[in-house]
């Protein structure tokens, strides 16, 4: 997993809960890195999950909610760092371009990146269905990213999980314009 995910996560925790919570998480997790992450590095994704679970435990916030919230935050980071990918007219067009354009481009920059599959299906002007497929089971992070995008394009959406398969490896997400 790319280092930026770790660094931004810890930034968010620091921002929301303070350095103490950051330290607590690092201390209580068995991390090979001892909590030292750099955006240009690549780290084991298990460390990320461990930290999220720890935060959940500490703050009594469910993991999905944390992931969603982190996704929303992370989209802002992405939109500032990679504005060329946001150059789309509307939300649905953007979402539709992830699997076919954005992810292939990302792979050119980071050949070792492991990216989920995103299959988008437009259902009329106001509805879209997305199929998330990844062994990481991070659909909620994806939902957070979608919500971040929704805010970015100023299109309010009701986002919901329609169906989960294979223990979260395949999740069908629906978007309905509010």
């Amino acid at each position: 997993m790319k280092g930026i995910v770790f660094t931004e996560f810890l930034e968010l925790v620091e921002e929301k809960f303070g350095l103490k919570t950051v330290q607590e998480i690092i201390d209580s997790c068995n991390l090979a890195t001892n909590g030292v992450y750099t955006a240009v590095g690549t780290y084991n994704h298990k460390e990320m999950f461990e930290m999220v679970e720890k935060l959940s435990e500490l703050k009594s916030i469910p993991v999905p909610d944390l992931l969603t919230e982190y996704g929303r935050f992370f989209f802002k980071v992405l939109s500032v760092n990679y504005p060329q990918f946001m150059d789309k007219n509307d939300l649905f067009t953007f979402l539709n371009s992830i699997d076919g354009y954005i992810h292939p481009e990302v792979l050119k920059l980071y050949p070792d990146a492991e990216l989920p599959r995103f299959t988008a299906a437009l259902k009329g002007n106001d509805e879209m269905q997305l199929i998330y497929e990844s062994s990481r089971k991070m659909a909620h992070f994806a939902i957070g990213l979608i919500l971040g995008a929704s805010a970015y394009y100023k299109e309010e959406m009701e986002v919901a999980i329609v169906k989960e398969e294979e223990g979260g490896k395949k999740v069908i997400i629906s978007l309905q314009r509010k």
Binding site: G18, L19, Q23, N34, V36, Y37, V40
Partner: protein
């Protein structure tokens, strides 16, 4: 606070560690990049070097190949997958005559003979489709000259990325080989054809005489099977007596290479000896004689065919000669090319008179060219055609012939001329003309006969009219007994003579098929009573009784030809009375069948007379036949009566026969069909003759040139208290009619100056008079009545007339007249005062056939209309409208009132009241009276 510092320190430490980690990563990446760059530079240099070496190698190889390709004797070329040339070598230029740059881009079909396009396209396609690496085929090039160039081509598929992208082909000029192949094949085929298709037997034998090859004719001739023959030698079929001779010929063959016209005998399988003529040629192999090819002709067969042809020709020649057909041959221009003796015999020409002459121009009658033209066209279509034409003979006279041109063709099917065949039909034509002449004469004679009969009837009837009429009148004058007897005798003799004339006329009518069917409704009893009354006088004299028995189930009224029935039965009854001295004559009528609204009636006339001898019974219905010659002396008559009866019955589709016992009497039976009808069908046609006419008031004009007839008529009319004016002819009649009106005209048809037809025509067309005219004629020709009626006459009386008939016919015409009241003395009217009967319902009853309900209904309507009319007419001032009101009520007046009122209503209608106003008052008063009487009538009923 301490905690915070602690955490910041820890965080800072992490950040430092992270920075170092990041720097390390970047350092590593930079080194990686440097190394990668170095490797790239090195490999690039290596690549360039290799490329150079390879390029040089390829160039060398290519040069070598190119040299090979260009120096090859074969055409080497490449095409793309669609067959367009992408490369061709120099040889290609030489063979096609085009430069390489001209060939490149062209499609291969531009060089291939069209006959091979389809086949080659299939081959190429197949090669691509089934991925066939290499294929060979041969084809002909398309060339601008007659020269044929054949190529044998080896084609390979060219691939790129496993996909076929074109063809590489090597083509070799194989023209010489193909030509020699074809030559060989042709010569083989020719030999095969000649051998197998020969008219004669063909065989090939080896030096020992063994059969090597033979054709089917040979098999047919010899009768051996192929298998048998293949194991045989020539020696086995040669007649033993010819063995030496044949050996000698074979030696000759060996020495000279051939022999001709060997005549010998061979023996077939079934031991038939065949005369043959053999022609042989030696065959060679490697310079050595290997055998011979022999043509074996069956000469015996030829002899038979020749005989048959001669026989056939002989046969047809004799047939043609016997038919006496004149034959000529002409070319396509119809110029005579050959003359057969038969034609000379027919026409008297010599051969040299005709050769080279044009057939149509020289021989045909000038009236026939269009026929020949038609024939010429037909000949073009190769059809034989037949005409009847006249041809000119040597002596200049013409003779009728049937001519036929049968075209004949040369071997190529082109018409080169025709055989003109002439059959002399002059005698047939003569007979034909004789027949026409005879037929015309017969027709003329028939017409003359008819004219004679018509004239005779006129000539005889005119004086007869006088004899009968005057003797009848004379008989009724005040005479002594002897004079009365003389007058009666004259009268009876006249009647007899009239019967005779009528019989002859009837017979001629029947003979000429001019009988007509007159369908009329009649009262059977009335008709029978008329028939009986005609014989009553004679019967009474002889003291015979004539009884009539009509079966109950017969209808009273029938429709049919009453006239002919009357004629038939009158004759039979007359005969019965004539031949019966004592006893009785009975007429029996019964119905023997009743189907499809037709009653088949059996009329029997039974007498107790002298009877007829059995041998005479058969011929009794023949013309001019009486039982024996004495009859005419004793009983009179012409012998035509029964013959006429039989013919009339046959005409009506019935049957007549006689049974008789000599001395006991005869029964004549007539069977005829009539359609039964109801009484009312008869009413319209009947006129009530019981009404007596007031003859003094009838104004009659008689138009008649014969003074005797004038006298008879005047006297007859005088007896009825009638009188007549006389016109001598039509012209005089017209003059009189311009001066005076008549109620009826009796018009003779044949008169000098102007005849009855012309006069009637003027009366109707120019005088526009509708006065009834009765034709009065002695001419009894069949269509006379139709002619009279057609020209506008009302009826027809044949002279000499019967007084009763004349009276009835005149009465009928007068009563049909609208204004007849003035001379009709109806029985009713006769009894009562005319003026008092202003109202009568009799006509209404008659019209409604006695339906009093209907009559009352009509009277109701009349009363209502009448009262309304009276009210209107009293106040109406407009004369025109008054006239119209009168017109409207006129039909009612005609039905209900008397002649006075009828006259009056017409005067009002014509607006006579303008001059005589009292007429209107009289009319309205009368109308009032009629209405009152009608009301009274309704009250009583």
């Amino acid at each position: 606070m301490e905690d915070d510092i602690k955490y910041y320190k820890l965080a800072l430490a992490r950040e430092k560690a992270a920075r170092k980690a990041a720097e390390k990563i970047l350092e590593d990446k930079a080194l990686e990049l440097y190394q990668a760059n170095n490797e790239l530079i090195t490999s690039n240099a290596n690549l360039e070097e290799t490329l150079e070496i390879r390029t040089a190698q390829i160039k060398e190889t290519e040069k070598m190949y190119r040299h090979l390709v260009e120096s090859a004797n074969d055409i080497i070329f490449q095409t793309d997958i669609n067959g367009h040339f992408t490369f061709v070598n120099h040889t290609g230029e030489l063979i096609t005559g085009l430069t390489v740059s001209e060939i490149i881009g062209t499609h291969y079909t531009a060089f291939v003979d069209e006959a091979f396009h389809e086949g080659m396209a299939k081959l190429y396609h197949n090669q691509v489709e089934n991925n066939i690496e290499s294929a060979y085929f041969e084809y002909k090039l398309k060339t601008k000259t007659e020269e044929e160039i054949w190529l044998g081509q080896n084609t390979q598929l060219i691939h790129e990325n496993n996909k076929p992208i074109g063809f590489l082909a090597v083509s070799r000029n194989i023209t010489e080989r193909v030509k020699s192949d074809n030559e060989l094949r042709r010569s083989e085929e020719k030999y095969k054809k000649m051998f197998e298709g020969a008219f004669d037997g063909m065989m090939r034998v080896d030096v020992n005489g063994n059969f090597v090859e033979w054709n089917s004719k040979m098999i047919k001739m010899l009768g051996y099977t192929n298998e048998e023959l293949s194991a045989m030698s020539v020696q086995q079929i040669i007649h033993p007596d010819d063995a030496e001779k044949s050996k000698a010929y074979f030696e000759k063959l060996k020495k000279e290479g051939y022999y001709t016209n060997y005549n010998g005998r061979i023996i077939s399988k079934n031991n038939r000896i065949i005369n043959v003529e053999v022609n042989s040629t030696a065959t060679y192999e490697n310079g050595e004689i290997s055998g011979s090819i022999d043509n074996v002709r069956d000469v015996s067969e030829r002899v038979t065919i020749e005989d048959a042809i001669i026989y056939s020709e002989e046969k047809y020649r004799s047939i043609l000669e016997n038919l006496e057909l004149g034959l000529l041959e002409v070319d396509v221009e119809e110029n005579i090319t050959k003359v057969y003796p038969s034609f000379c015999a027919m026409t008297g020409y010599k051969k040299e008179d005709l050769i080279g002459k044009n057939h149509s121009q020289f021989l045909l009658h000038p009236d026939s060219p269009e026929k020949m033209e038609a024939q010429e066209i037909n000949r073009g279509e190769s059809e034989a055609s037949v005409y009847e034409v006249q041809i000119k003979k040597k002596d200049g006279s013409y003779t009728w012939v049937i001519m036929s041109g049968a075209p004949f063709k040369n071997r190529n099917g082109k018409i080169i001329g025709a055989i003109a065949i002439h059959l002399d039909i002059s005698s047939r034509k003569r007979i034909e003309q004789d027949l026409k002449q005879a037929n015309r004469l017969a027709e003329e004679s028939s017409k003359a006969k008819e004219l004679f009969l018509a004239n005779m009837s006129h000539e005889i009837r005119t004086p007869l009219n006088a004899v009968i009429g005057l003797s009848g009148l004379l008989r009724d004058t005040d005479l002594n007994d002897v004079q009365t007897a003389f007058a009666s005798n004259i009268y009876n003799a006249g009647q007899g003579l009239l019967l005779l004339v009528n019989d002859i006329l009837d017979l001629s009518k029947i003979a000429s098929g001019k009988l007509e069917l007159n369908m009329e409704s009649f009262d059977l009893r009335q008709t029978m009573s008329t028939i009986i009354s005609s014989s009553a006088y004679l019967a009474e004299e002889k003291g015979l009784q004539i009884s009539l028995n009509i079966q109950d189930d017969l209808s009273d009224y029938y429709k049919g030809d009453e006239l002919k029935l009357t004629q038939i039965l009158t004759n039979l009854v007359n005969n019965a009375v004539k031949f019966t001295a004592k006893g009785l004559v009975e007429i029996r009528i019964e119905k023997i069948a009743d189907e499809n609204e037709l009653h088949t009636l059996k009329f029997q006339v039974i007498d107790t007379g002298k009877g007829i001898a059995p041998d005479a019974l058969l011929s009794i219905f023949e013309d001019f036949n009486q039982e024996d010659n004495t009859i005419s002396k004793v009983f009179g008559g012409t012998g035509l009566g029964l013959s006429i009866c039989k013919k009339l019955v046959a005409f009506l589709g019935g049957d007549i026969y006689v049974e008789s016992t000599l001395g006991a009497g005869s029964i004549f039976t007539v069977i005829l069909g009539f359609e039964p009808i109801q009484q009312y069908d008869l009413i319209e046609e009947s006129v009530d003759f019981e009404d007596e006419l007031n003859w003094e008031n009838v104004k009659i004009l008689t138009v008649e040139d014969n003074h005797l007839n004038q006298f008879v008529l005047k006297e007859t009319l005088k007896r009825w208290n009638a009188s007549t004016d006389i016109a001598e002819n039509g012209e005089e009649a017209i003059e009189i009619l311009l001066e005076k009106n008549y109620d009826i005209i009796l018009m003779d048809m044949q008169m000098p100056i102007m005849d009855g037809f012309a006069a009637t025509n003027i009366i109707r067309r120019e005088l526009k008079s509708s006065v009834p005219i009765i034709a009065f004629t002695a001419n009894a020709l069949s269509n006379e009545k139709e002619r009279c009626l057609a020209i506008g006459m009302n009826d027809y009386i044949s002279k000499p007339f019967k007084e009763q008939e004349l009276k009835e016919k005149i009465s009928r015409q007068l009563k049909l007249n609208v204004e007849s009241e003035k001379y009709i003395l109806s029985k009713e009217v006769g009894k009562e005062n005319t003026d008092s009967t202003i109202f009568t319902v009799n006509r209404l009853f008659e019209m409604s056939r006695g339906n009093s309900e209907f009559v009352n209904k009509l009277l109701d309507i009349f009363i209502e209309d009448g009262e309304l009319s009276i009210a209107k007419m009293r106040t109406e001032q407009d004369a025109d409208l008054l006239g119209k009101l009168a017109h409207k009520i006129k039909p009612s007046i005609d039905y209900l009132s008397n002649v006075h009122m009828k006259d009056l209503v017409r005067k009002i209608e014509q607006m006579d009241f303008v001059q005589s106003p009292e007429l209107l008052d009289a009319f309205l008063e009368g109308l009032g009276d009629i209405i009152a009487a009608a009301k009274n009538h309704l009250k009583q009923s």
